[in-house]
Symmetry: C2
Subunit: 235 residues, 2 copies
DNA sequence: CGCTGGTTTGATTTCCTTCAATGACGGTGG
DNA sequence: CCACCGTCATTGAAGGAAATCAAACCAGCG
């Protein structure tokens, strides 16, 4: 039975980091795990807070982000159900969260005890390898983000983002944006106005159509060539 | 005796990832390890190459970087002696290098066999933990780079860089830049001209003095406040 | 000494942010 | 069910930061 207040053993095993646990370990981790709900807009943790738990998003949506002194927000990642986050804090000398985390939608999370997990990893080489895999993948994603910010202009970043989303969903003509345009702008490190202008330009070019949060890709090849740097020449 | 052609067991143990190996494992890893020299300007590997080795820089200096279609170069990291790199490729499903690597100075490296290392990690939970720690630290560095690119303007990035270098060296009044200004510009994702102008402005403000590659920090507090966002108001 | 590549300085251009105003949603409570 | 409010989205105009272009200078090194 799927009790919403406590993580089930099945759920635990879907969690990639813990999928190989035996009965005893499962039991211990479950005992220390806690379900937390966060209202829309509410913070789960702040940048610099001691990281006593690592998290699995069960429902809802959250953002991991940094803030500038001026209050500008750069989103590092948007967290959707099934994603875990903050694993890298486990192995840092001083265990603090490197970013803020707040809910974009009302969300429900499972929080695993950090000390407890480290103990588990000590006995489980397989789990270590899975975590190494996860962190490595994330590291390469970060390198891609750095390249994107450093070498691509705003329109290129937008085109790239759309193409990535399109492919991630297995290339359906139409799909729904994962989040509001304001948040996507924060993810791409552009102003909402700039994102809006980019999308309008792509629409004018006939590359895509847009209906509020729904995007229809009319010309994937064209989008790809634009993402590669072909200037979207406005007439 | 320090044979320059083959890594010694002592050297292997300085390598943080392998410092806990026992005699047998040391022996195996050493057998498969290979010393490679790279001339200034020469590539060690390209973005997308199969990653059959991970590397330890013994002497010289290298850059890890990405290239834009237009040929612009964004440096992800500058590698100095004692630093290892490319570890994260070990645990990726498709083992390829995510960046280019080229020598800034003539360099000598030890290349460890990837399959061999993975075997070692299977038997050595301690080594796994050390690697998890290394990757976690690098991940947080990447997050800092992303924040820097997204939320700080060029002058702020320069000030931050100088402050970091100053502190990393334990705050000597004068220190030598780790690399040419062209490469530092590539690291900070600004044009060399912009870096030059930033440094000139800081000099004009009396924050620092500069003599070719040597920087003297006259006013660390001022530099810090500039890095925090205090506008360097040119009169 | 005389290259070659790195650095500085100035002038111009481009891109993106900022500012401002209007319009469209979508959730909430009457 | 509809009116209201706040947030999000769009569009235009103006300003500013950094890139680009161009040229002169400098430094290290064969």
């Amino acid at each position: 039975m799927n009790n919403i207040r406590h993580p089930t053993r099945d759920e635990l095993h879907q969690f990639p980091l813990l999928s190989g646990l035996d009965e005893t370990e499962s039991q211990r981790v479950l005992t220390k795990a806690r379900v937390v709900t966060v209202a829309r807009g509410e913070h789960l943790f702040h940048h610099g807070d001691p990281a006593r738990r690592i998290w699995l998003c069960r429902t809802g949506q959250l953002k991991l982000f940094r803030l500038s002194d001026a209050g500008q927000e750069k989103i590092i990642a948007i967290i959707n159900p099934g994603r875990s986050f903050a694993e890298a804090t486990l192995f840092m000398p001083q265990r603090v969260y490197p970013v803020h985390c707040a809910a974009i939608k009302p969300s429900e999370l499972v929080g695993f005890d950090a000390d407890d997990l480290v103990k588990t990893f000590h006995n489980d080489a397989e789990a270590c390898f899975r975590l190494l895999g996860t962190l490595s993948r994330r590291m390469h994603e970060k390198i891609n983000q750095i390249e994107s910010l450093a070498l691509q202009n705003a329109h290129l970043r937008v085109a790239h983002y759309l193409l990535d989303e399109y492919r991630r969903r297995d290339e359906p003509k139409t799909f729904r944006l994962e989040s509001s345009k304001k948040h996507i702008a924060g993810l791409l490190a552009v102003q909402p106005e700039t994102l809006s202008r980019s999308l309008t330009a792509l629409q004018r070019e006939g590359v895509l159509d847009m209906d509020t949060r729904y995007i229809t890709i009319n010309d994937p090849e064209r989008l790809e060539s634009i993402a590669r740097g072909a200037l979207a020449t406005p007439h």
